[in-house]
């Protein structure tokens, strides 16, 4: 039977097992919306701004591991979504974006709501495809899902002109895609892995540095077995939190600009650094020249060859899927009769415990004003560590990363690479849509939350009982902190004036609002809020205005050159 392009697009989503898509209608996608209307399998979540559609699909993907899908119209629909696409791209999130386009004959004519979508998105997608013939549509969508979800994942955009969505053709969903130009790596090269084992066995001060790649390849179990077998210390990057259980004694916290003292000192002073699905980001290693003042052997396991030896030269590069490579290494370790240098390792652990005893995350627990750290710490206890936590970008994000201990992957959802303010609420929508029965908390700031605040309306429509934890310091705190440290206390435009009454704002959208301004009320308020299982609760915590995030590696400094409390 012949189907229209619009019907084909939706049938393809069904074939891919897509249950939810996030989107916003417009002229160029009206036929696709009509096709959505006439079926029941694929559920559409109507957001209030296309940026949120992309973020929600991205959050959905981060929490489930499946490909997130969003649908936007041509022109402003796409340009609104670009921030969300770029955010997903920077963190290698599998996502498919379907965008409407003006009819093929109108392309290039400056038609109403025409933009060069393929051109605008090219630098922030893994791939994109303009479909000019309805017969190419199903193969293009198949290809998009394949490319988005394999290798180093990423967003793929399929641009569908209006007439393509209207024309008819026979529907055949290809069972497989064969791309002669695309062969993502899986297993690591055996000879290199034997060398890796040798170096590991001779390490005296080893360190495992695991990033988002471990989460993306679902390799947490393998990582945990690997680290436990060796008794090596583990640090998880901001993107890798939860890949190794945070409450385990081998976990030394997050590394980098706001990493723990012990993680940064261990990264700087180790003699063998095992990077796994991490990319030696500038926010992690700080000044590369300083990083290289110390000599160490670097092993780097990553699926993307371009990530290897990009920022730091690597001694032992292993190109492969982290999960497959860790399995191979586990096999070799289990077969080997050798053990790592026990005495040296014991000394190393003593040194790490000494660094740990510096208690770099301590804060004033008896303060008269609410300390933001106290809120996150209490949130952790009230939710028994079981919530899925999304965050925005700023100080609150760092406190959430430092104080909520993630024992499992895909429970910490944040924008690491692009650092996009505004993601927190749409991420929570994506997560809650995927997991209606899970506890979802969004830790945000009064500046970030206002970047996608309109989504409170979406949450009402779809009964998403998200718990918003607003750490309201009346400042763009992270900006203010830099201005305090590096710009002589000149707080240029970092004060958030004329804030709304968040309680009444939440209420006006039909939600529950709470304002908490005393430390003694923090726990009670959180407990009360989380008891309201079927309601969205906006908790506005009036926190210490001038609290800073510590430790801090100032930009341009080395990892061990931290500002400490």
């Amino acid at each position: 039977m012949e189907l229209t392009g619009a019907e084909i697009a939706i049938r393809c989503l069904k074939e891919e097992g897509v249950e939810h898509i996030f989107g916003y209608p417009g002229g160029a996608v009206l036929d696709i919306y009509d096709a959505i209307f006439r079926q029941e399998k694929v559920r559409h979540i109507l957001v209030r701004h296309e940026q949120a559609a992309a973020h929600a699909a991205d959050g959905y993907a981060r929490a489930t591991g499946k490909v997130g899908v969003c649908l936007v119209t041509s022109g402003p629909g796409v340009t609104n979504a670009v921030t969300g696409i770029a955010t997903a791209y920077m963190d290698s999130i599998p996502m498919v974006i379907l965008s409407g386009q003006v009819s093929v004959a109108a392309i290039g004519q400056d038609a109403f709501q025409e933009v060069d979508t393929v051109g605008i998105t090219r630098p922030c997608v893994k791939h994109n495809i303009l479909v000019k013939d309805v017969r190419d549509l199903a193969p293009a969508i198949k290809k998009a899902f394949h490319i988005a979800s394999t290798g180093r994942p990423g967003p793929v955009l399929v641009d569908i002109p209006k007439d393509v969505s209207q024309k008819k053709t026979e529907f055949n969903y290809p069972a497989k895609v064969q791309l002669r130009s695309y062969h993502p790596a899986s297993k690591g090269e055996p000879e290199m892995l034997r060398q890796v084992i040798q170096v590991i066995m001779n390490a005296r001060r080893p360190m495992i540095y695991a990033g988002g790649g471990v989460v993306l390849s679902n390799a947490s179990d393998e990582l945990t077995r690997f680290a436990r077998l060796l008794n090596f210390p583990v640090t998880n990057t901001l993107m890798g939190l939860g890949a190794y259980p945070a409450t385990d004694s081998q976990f030394v916290g997050m590394p980098g600009m706001h990493g723990t003292f012990e993680a940064n000192m261990a990264m700087q002073n180790c003699d063998v650094l095992i990077g796994i699905g991490a990319r030696f980001d500038d926010r992690v290693i700080g000044n590369p020249a300083h990083f290289f003042e110390a000599t160490r052997k670097i092993i780097h396991i990553d699926i993307d060859p371009t990530s290897i030896s990009k920022r730091v030269p690597v001694d032992l590069p292993v190109v492969g899927n982290v999960k497959d490579v860790l399995k191979q290494l586990l096999g070799l370790l289990e077969a080997s009769r050798e053990k790592p240098e026990a005495v040296a390792l014991g000394e190393w652990w003593k040194q790490i415990e000494l660094w740990r005893s510096r208690d770099c995350l301590r804060f004033d627990r008896h303060s008269e004003v609410i300390k933001p750290q106290l809120v996150v710490d209490t949130l952790y206890h009230v939710t028994a560590g079981k919530a899925i936590v999304t965050s925005d970008v700023g100080q609150h994000q760092m406190w959430a990363a430092q104080f909520y201990k993630f024992d499992r992957p895909r429970r910490w959802i944040n924008s690491g690479g692009l650092g996009t303010m505004g993601v927190g609420l749409p991420y929570a929508m994506g997560v809650q849509t995927a997991f209606p029965d899970e506890t979802v908390a969004c830790v945000t700031g009064e500046a970030s939350i206002q970047m996608c605040i309109q989504e409170l309306s979406t949450c009402k429509q779809y009964h998403l009982p998200i718990k918003i934890v607003n750490l309201n310091n009346r400042y763009m705190g992270m900006v203010r902190q830099w201005q305090e440290f590096f710009y002589g206390n000149r707080y240029a435009e970092s004060y958030i004036d004329a804030l709304p009454d968040f309680v009444r704002l939440a209420e006006s959208y039909g939600h529950v609002g709470m304002r908490i301004d005393k430390p003694s009320d923090v726990e009670g308020a959180l407990k009360e809020a989380f008891k309201l299982k079927d309601r969205l609760v906006f908790m506005d915590f009036i926190t210490d205005q001038t609290e800073n995030v510590y430790p801090m590696v100032p930009s341009g400094k080395g990892m061990s050159e931290m500002i400490l409390v």
């Binding site: 393929v118 051109g119 791939h127 130009s181 695309y182 371009t306």
Partner: protein, 165 residues
């Protein structure tokens, strides 16, 4: 140290593939000395030659980044082995001063051809490697040059160094 390198690529002959390559170079701040591209005997494939310069690290990154582009089927760094490189140049020179004999002699020394003649100009065709074309331009009186067009280098491996899909 920045060294000159020649990359040879096979890629899908699809609209947009070229801008993906060009976009990669500009987005990552790599320089392009020249770029030439055309379809091959297999119409689904294009062959591209890119001349660039960079440190060893940058050159390695360029190779890996090119390889990562979905439409790039194969890429090699020709400079790493035996290879041949040729460029075509068209030069229009002024003959208004009656210097046709000097020009004809120079063209023949460089094994070029005069391929068009007008009252006041000769148009010369010359192929060779980049250095030869540069040398020819240097040998010409610069005041005589009216126009030059160069294709950028095309490269191919020697002998059984073959780039197959």
């Amino acid at each position: 140290m920045n060294m000159r390198h020649i990359f040879s690529l096979l890629m899908e002959n699809e609209s947009g593939a070229l801008s993906r390559v060009a976009g990669l170079f500009s987005a990552r701040g790599y320089n392009i000395e020249s770029l030439s591209v055309a379809p091959t005997e297999d119409p689904t494939l294009s062959r591209m030659t890119i001349v660039t310069a960079g440190s060893a690290d940058v050159i390695e990154q360029i190779l890996k980044q090119l390889d990562k582009l979905i439409e790039v089927v194969k890429v090699v760094n020709l400079t790493e082995g035996g290879h041949i490189e040729r460029e075509l140049m068209l030069v229009k020179v002024s003959t208004a001063e009656g210097n046709t004999e000097d020009i004809a002699r120079l063209v023949s020394i460089f094994r070029g051809h005069v391929i068009d003649v007008s009252d006041e100009t000769y148009t010369i065709e010359l192929t060779g490697d980049v250095a030869k074309l540069d040398a020819f331009l240097d040998a010409l009186d610069h005041n005589l040059i009216v126009e030059t067009v160069r294709t950028g280098a095309s490269g191919i491996g020697r002998g059984n160094r073959i780039l197959n899909p």
